[in-house]
């Protein structure tokens, strides 16, 4: 059966949460629902499953790479071409901490930044489901339903306070 993507727009969080609960009752699973909003709304406020993010893991990976790079610069490069000066150590330990710290932080921050891009698929300029009212503070609930059931879902969500419920198509932002 052909499916269509519908968009229900809400003014507040409470009716949006009720609508998602209703969608669950009507057999729409979470993987067929997507919520977009102009401010961050916690998943548990809407009764949605927690979102997975790799950003913190990528940050840790970046920190480890930065640490290793710092160790190499400090304690590796002097050995590649040894120049001993005045009996001083080839690689003194305390000053090395500074470089290691800076590189650890730099790579951690870069990895965090790139993590947002990777996890969010940024940049993405393809047509997508969206309405500009979202950045005006509205909450949009997208859900996929069989074409024949459109009216049933429209009625159900309108009763719960949706400002509008209508089929939607991907568009250029």
């Amino acid at each position: 059966m052909a499916e269509t993507t519908m968009l229900a727009l809400f003014e507040d969080i409470d009716p949006a949460a009720d609508a998602i609960e209703k969608l669950h009752e009507m057999g729409v699973t979470d993987d067929r629902i997507n919520v977009i909003s102009g401010v961050p709304v916690l998943e548990r406020m809407l009764g949605r499953p927690l979102q997975w993010t790799n950003v913190s893991r990528l940050a840790l990976a970046g920190a480890i790479v930065g640490f290793a790079l710092g160790v190499f610069f400090n304690y590796g490069t002097p050995n590649l071409y040894s120049i001993r000066v005045g009996g001083q150590p080839l690689y003194p330990i305390p000053p090395g901490f500074i470089l290691i710290f800076e590189l650890t932080m730099l790579l951690a921050l870069l990895a965090t930044f790139l993590g947002v891009f990777l996890d969010s698929y940024f940049p993405n300029y393809r047509p997508m489901h969206y309405v500009p009212e979202i950045s005006d503070g509205k909450i949009g609930v997208f859900f996929k339903v069989p074409e024949d059931d459109q009216q049933k879902f429209t009625d159900a969500l309108s009763q719960l306070g949706a400002e509008s419920v209508s089929p939607t198509e991907a568009q250029q932002l």
Partner: protein, 482 residues
């Protein structure tokens, strides 16, 4: 919970107001919510509304940048460093004064955005971006000042960590390499930290623009829609940044201080220089934020809604505390060296206090300590934008004096009296004017292109605030939204 919260929408409205005649919570931005669409419109109008005065100032600053920055720098490169005033014994002059000054200015952005975010200080919300921009633009000027100081700027790549033709790597144990890496880390980190929370506001601007602006915001918004996943990734990243950028901020100015403190020179060799420099950076940075906010509020429409007396009040308190901390570190640094009784340090201190530049030394103490302490204890004074901006301006003059005293004036007195000579700046003065003009010009351009108020953060804050009845009164309460 409603997206647009209104603490006065309940039937307790009249009761609440009865008890808050003198201190109406609606004087605070968090208790005076407006619909998100209206706030978006206000921020967009503030970007799009430009008076003729803007273009006059823009034109003057553009000419100053062209002449005092690019032409003067090009002239110095063509002629050599002799056109600058640096000479024996003061080989470090205004270029490094400017470097330290601009890095100091940059600290306020991180302090306000990261530290206040970590501690959930709600008053930060409307002006985090204006402060973060100071960080990025200040660091650009700091970087330019270092390159000016280099003289043969085309050889700057020697510090990039790659081996040269003889397979020799840079000396990573040199404070100059620490500087390079610390400032690079800070520039990249603070720019990314500026950009991440900007994405939702760029998406908002994209939805409300046409023509070239639409294309501009569309590219920068990266396709952001506000899905649950996007918010989670963004929020996680912002939390990591907020915690990670704080030690980076402290490290940068500490490392800058080590450029001096690692040398066995009178006036420089001090174990307290690290924290003393960090506090000094915050001192000048806070003052600069006060100036920026006062100018924003006065020159951009609708900004009086977002930036209020409460924000200047909070900023004034911070400035007072930082002034006290700066006085503590200054006295600590001064007393320990004075008590040490080193002959050359005594000579230097005598030169500071009774030499030809003594006016600068005492001027520094007056504007960095006396004026903030005498004025900022007063709430009415703190809440007046222009008075606070004036104190901020004086503090910045004082902090510039401080760096001038530490660098070229302290270099005048060394262990070889036959070399003593007072530093007299040459082309540095023009280049300094150029960096200041460029900083202001960047800010003016940003004010036309970037939403200076993070609207989504303001709305998030307004959602989290409510009035809670305790006994006979309603008191502000903040919910945990994260």
């Amino acid at each position: 919970m409603a997206v647009v919260s209104n603490p006065y929408s309940s039937d307790r409205k009249a009761d609440a107001l009865d008890h808050h005649d003198e201190h109406d919570p609606r004087q605070q931005l968090m208790f005076d919510p407006r619909p998100r669409g209206e706030m978006n419109r206000m921020v967009m109008e503030s970007m799009l509304t430009t008076s003729w005065r803007f273009w006059v100032v823009f034109g003057i600053l553009s000419v100053l940048v062209a002449v005092c920055f690019f032409y003067a720098w090009g002239y110095m490169i063509a002629e050599g460093l002799y056109v600058a005033g640096v000479n024996r014994p003061a080989y470090w002059g205004i270029f490094l004064v400017n470097t330290v000054f601009w890095i100091g200015i940059s600290h306020a952005g991180t302090f306000i955005s990261a530290i206040l975010r970590v501690f959930k200080a709600e008053f930060r919300r409307p002006f985090t971006r204006a402060a973060e921009l100071m960080t990025t633009f200040g660091l650009i000027q700091a970087g330019a000042s270092i390159f000016m100081h280099l003289g043969r700027v085309w050889l700057a790549y020697w510090m990039i960590p790659i081996p040269n033709v003889r397979q020799l790597w840079p000396n990573f144990h040199s404070p100059l390499m620490w500087d390079l890496l610390a400032i690079t880390t800070y520039v990249l980190g603070s720019t990314m930290y500026l950009f991440l929370p900007l994405i939702p506001d760029l998406a908002m601007a994209r939805d409300r623009s046409t023509g070239w602006r639409k294309t501009f915001y569309k590219i920068l918004a990266l396709g952001f829609r506000g899905t649950e996943g996007e918010w989670v990734h963004l929020r996680t990243a912002m939390n990591i940044f907020a915690f990670a950028i704080i030690p980076v901020m402290f490290s940068v100015h500490t490392i800058v201080s080590w450029d001096f403190a690692m040398a066995m020179r009178p006036g420089w060799s001090s174990t307290v220089f690290g924290p003393y420099f960090v506090v000094g950076a915050l001192h000048s940075g806070m003052g600069a934020v006060a100036i920026v906010l006062a100018v924003m509020r006065a020159t951009m429409i609708h900004m009086d809604y977002f930036i209020r007396a409460e924000h200047f009040d909070a900023l004034g308190k911070l400035m007072l505390i930082v002034s006290m901390a700066w006085a503590y570190f200054f006295f600590n640094d001064y007393l320990v060296q004075w008590y040490g009784g080193d002959r050359w340090t005594d000579q230097l201190f005598h030169y500071h206090e009774a030499g030809p530049m003594a006016w600068m030394f005492f001027g520094m103490l007056i504007v960095n300590i006396a004026i903030p302490w005498l004025t900022l204890w007063n709430r009415r004074f703190r809440q007046n934008p222009w008075l606070l901006a004036l104190v901020g301006l004086l503090i910045n003059v004082g902090m510039y004096f401080e760096r001038y005293i530490i660098i070229p004036i302290s270099l005048t007195i060394n262990r070889m009296p036959f070399t003593w000579r007072l530093y007299e700046p040459g082309i540095e003065i023009w280049l300094t004017i150029g960096t200041f003009a460029m900083f202001l010009l960047f800010y003016m351009i940003a004010s036309r292109l970037i939403p200076l108020v993070p609207v989504w953060e303001v709305q998030e804050g307004q959602m989290a605030h409510s009035l809670r009845k305790v006994g006979k009164v309603h008191v502000p309460a903040v919910s945990e939204m994260e």
